[in-house]
Amino acid sequence: MPVGDATVTVDQVVKPPFETVVAQHGATVLRVVRAVVGHSDADDAWSETFLAAMKAYPRLPANANVEAWLVTIAHRKAIDITRAAARRAFPVADTPDSPASDRADSHDLDLDTAVGALPPKQRQAVAYHYLAGLPYAEIAIILDSSVSAARRAAADGIATLRRTYPQIDTARSNT
């Protein structure tokens, strides 16, 4: 290590550059917000989440669970975006007529419809567990509910999806 730089040792916890957070969690957060707010608002939700996270990052404890922290921020941003969308006089459906940039990732409209039709708590619990991989103890904190209620919301959500989007079990068997 050069003399002029702070010596970095393995037993010392140094917070990595925020770039590392974006690189490691950018894709997961995008999947989560797509499930929670839908494709048309997902880019705004992702951008607002990472901008807010970058602002708060210096105060985050170095040993914090970064993914749970990001999902918590995304959860709040998604609520703001959903409220703003509800205030719009004529909600714009996420249709194949959306601009090409919104469709750069192939997405399944049947899946979007099925997930979008779930009650919010179920949709959130499903996304945070089955896309972000968070344990129900973390999800309960984010949803401000009990652990058993969070687990039940995810189970109910998956049960409904099995009915409204049967291909869900194909995805599972492919993993």
Partner: protein, 200 residues
């Protein structure tokens, strides 16, 4: 069903993530949150990591220093609000290209001296203004220019720990016996820079 098991239903296109990253770079810059922007450029002395704060260029690092170590040290000493964001580094990247092509003798970019303190900073500021392209100075000469003729060893340390080598030209400081001496980027890089400037 296990955790993460819906992930295959939500494919993410890397190009889409790159566009979101570019938007974050701009949003962070506009919100005064981009404390450090960095990028890597190729050069005649190997890849160089360039990092800048809003005040100016704060770090130039050689590949031998290990970019992960350099970025962690910047995160700890200045701020972890760092993104790989090329725009802020465009002017210095262009000027380095011109320098390595022999078409530039002085760098016209702001330098953020945050990482240099006290006498080391005095030494580097003298080096930046008093030792011209194509010339060399001994560590003893630079000690004299910096106002402490006896502090030859401290001048050596200041040069060895220069946060912005090449731009602040510590490669122009050599030993009194004519040997090139040590260099943050290794003696081969130092000889290459001196040869470039003799030819230019």
């Amino acid at each position: 069903m296990t955790a993460h098991s819906l992930t295959p239903l939500y494919p993410v296109d890397p190009d889409h993530l790159r566009r979101l990253h570019a938007r974050l770079e701009k949003d962070a810059q506009d919100s005064d949150l981009l404390d450090i922007a960095y990028r890597t450029v190729d050069s005649a002395v190997g890849p160089l990591l360039l990092a800048a704060t809003p005040r100016g260029l704060v770090r130039v690092a050689f590949a031998s220093e290990g970019s992960d170590n350099v970025l962690l040290a910047l995160s700890e000493r200045i701020s972890p609000r760092m993104l790989e964001a090329p725009t802020r580094l465009d002017p210095i990247a262009r000027q380095l290209d011109e320098y390595f092509a022999g078409r530039r003798q002085r760098f016209d970019v702001a330098v953020d001296w945050t990482l240099s303190h006290g006498f080391r900073r005095t030494v580097l500021e003298h080096l930046n203004t008093d030792v011209a392209y194509g010339t060399t100075a001994s560590y003893a000469t630079l000690a004299r220019l910096s106002g402490s003729p006896k502090a030859v060893r401290a001048v050596g340390t200041a040069c060895a720990t220069n946060p912005t080598p090449i731009v602040v030209p510590c490669h122009r400081v050599i030993r009194s016996d004519g040997a090139v001496g040590s260099y943050r980027g290794g003696p081969a890089a130092k000889r290459a820079l001196l040869a470039l400037e003799r030819a230019g």
